[in-house]
């Protein structure tokens, strides 16, 4: 038992330790403020924040619908859940390809969009946000749905008999009581968005300041500017660890509930 556990621990912690040991700590400040990392840093945090907002705006209603789906036919509920969770298990590159097929200029939705309004989505910052929201949404929906289901239904009954409409009851009672789940879901989808690579480079491309986020910049820098690549990796690892430390065990319970 102990030996495999130690090996497993080394497998998980080893790469992180190696990254931190090999990081060019002395030059880190200069690299982070340099021409490769700084624009990517700003773009990544900006798009990750925007996609988290998108996830909350779209994900909370989706979670509410799923949380109230007990009366649906069983097959429909299962299909709905599977669709929501798909981006979690899909290779991100596949997600990027799927997004291209939907939103590229020749895509299912992209073609009429381009024909009618001249709107092109790939190669724009909006495409980055869409790719990030695609991969981040399941975290928010599953976390919020679990939290909504965990709210004692008597609070909604009490609110209704106090004159609150179903909408007001949801906004002012049920949702605030599910706030920890919402916060956990938002933080998780933010972290996922920050780390998004495959769908972004496939769907949005890579242009410094527009679509070149931290992971994309790290990948491209790796071949001839490994210092910048490692600096970016350190930033992403630190953010990921901070997120998980802040959430502690909550995200697991949120997804499980």
């Amino acid at each position: 038992m102990i030996a495999p556990a130690v090996v497993g621990g080394v497998l998980l912690a080893g790469p992180l330790v190696a990254l931190l040991v090999r990081a060019p700590w002395g030059e880190l400040g200069g690299l982070l403020a340099g021409p490769v990392v700084l624009p990517a840093l700003g773009l990544s945090f900006g798009t990750a924040f925007a996609s988290t907002v998108v996830c909350v705006v779209l994900g909370v209603p989706l979670a509410a619908v799923l949380a109230g789906s007990d009366g649906w036919p069983r097959l429909l509920t299962r299909v709905a859940r599977a669709v929501v969770a798909t981006p979690l298990v899909l290779p991100p590159v596949v997600g990027g390809i799927a997004l291209l097929l939907l939103l590229s200029r020749t895509g299912l939705l992209g073609r009429p969009l381009f024909a009618a309004f001249g709107i092109t989505i790939p190669f724009t910052t909006a495409a980055v946000v869409i790719a990030q929201a695609f991969v981040g949404l399941p975290f928010l929906v599953l976390s919020v749905e679990g939290a909504l289901r965990g709210v004692d239904p008597r609070f909604a009954v009490a609110a209704a008999t106090l004159g609150a409409s179903p909408w007001a009851t949801f906004l002012r009672v049920t949702l605030p009581l599910a706030a920890p789940g919402l916060a956990a879901g938002a933080v998780l989808s933010f972290a996922r968005a920050l780390g998004e690579f495959g769908a972004t480079i496939t769907f949005a491309g890579s242009l410094p300041g527009v679509t070149e986020t931290l992971p994309v910049a790290a990948y491209i820098a790796l071949t001839d500017d490994p210092g910048s690549a490692i600096a970016i990796a350190v930033v992403l690892v630190v953010v990921a660890l901070a997120v998980l430390l802040a959430l502690r065990e909550r995200w697991l319970t949120g997804l499980r509930a």
Binding site: D152, R154, F155, V157, A158, A159, A160, T161, L162, G163, A164, S165, P166, A168, R172, V173, P176, L177, A179
Partner: protein
């Protein structure tokens, strides 16, 4: 005086069937007693609009609230207050905002709603608790706050579901007296569901005995004691709170 109720409550749910007639004069208090599963809580749920009728009708002060079909008013549009056995104070709001909640839902501004809520709490001697969270008040205080919260909307009909069942036995008489005081100054009518005859005796003008979804007997408590129509009535009136549950 408000709260003239004419109701015939029909609910069918699997093997269980509720078919009970409840009539209240304005300003009166009716106790509904019965064993677990007699249909007491279901009856309250239909009156509050939580459970729609499958048959019968509910008319309050001449307004149709439910006719078992299309004529269904949702709970938020009924002049009916409900206080549950567990007071269900909103844990994310202060006591003051709990009481102001119904006023805000009715369209009052935040400051106005809070001021009215403050007065209502002070009237009941609860002015010291306004800034506390529900987790910081005792069970008895929570029950009284829930009562104030329901009444501040000025409902025509107040429904109390086992208001004392969750309270420690030694604290019950004081709380019972407190509820009595509130109901005395309340202009509407009220229905108290209880399994404890002491509650019915202290709070109600009349008693309805419910069993298996049907009304066994109705009248003043003294009359029921003198001439019980059924052995179940005799047993219910003899023992106070032997089943301890909230009813079904």
């Amino acid at each position: 005086m408000t709260g003239a109720l004419e109701a015939r409550l029909g609910v069918r749910r699997g093997a269980f069937e509720l078919d009970a007639e409840l009539v209240l004069a304005p300003g009166t208090v009716l106790a509904v007693v019965g064993r677990n599963g007699a249909g007491k809580s279901t009856a309250l749920a239909t009156l509050a609009g939580i459970t729609p009728l499958s048959g019968g009708r509910i008319v309050l002060d001449g307004v149709l609230l439910d006719d078992g079909g299309r004529g269904f008013e949702p709970p938020e549009r009924r002049p009916v207050g409900l206080v549950l056995q567990q007071p269900a104070l909103f844990p994310h709001l202060t006591v003051l905002d709990n009481v102001a909640f119904g006023l805000r839902a009715a369209g009052a501004g935040r400051a106005d709603a809070r001021e009215q809520a403050q007065h209502a709490l002070e009237d009941q001697g609860l002015g010291d608790f306004t800034d506390r969270r529900p987790s910081q008040v005792s069970g008895g205080q929570a029950a009284r706050i829930a009562l104030v919260r329901a009444l501040v909307r000025r409902p025509a009909l107040l429904l109390l579901d086992e208001p004392l069942a969750a309270i420690d036995a030694e604290l019950r008489p004081a709380l019972r007296a407190s509820i009595r005081g509130v109901l005395d100054s309340f202009p509407g009518s009220a229905i108290v569901v209880t399994h404890d005859v002491a509650d019915a005796e202290a709070l109600a003008d009349e008693v309805v005995v419910l069993d298996s979804g049907r009304v066994l007997q109705r009248g003043p408590l003294a009359g029921l004691r003198a001439e019980p129509a059924d052995p179940v009535v005799t047993r219910l009136l003899a023992g106070a709170g032997q089943d301890g549950g909230s009813g079904g």
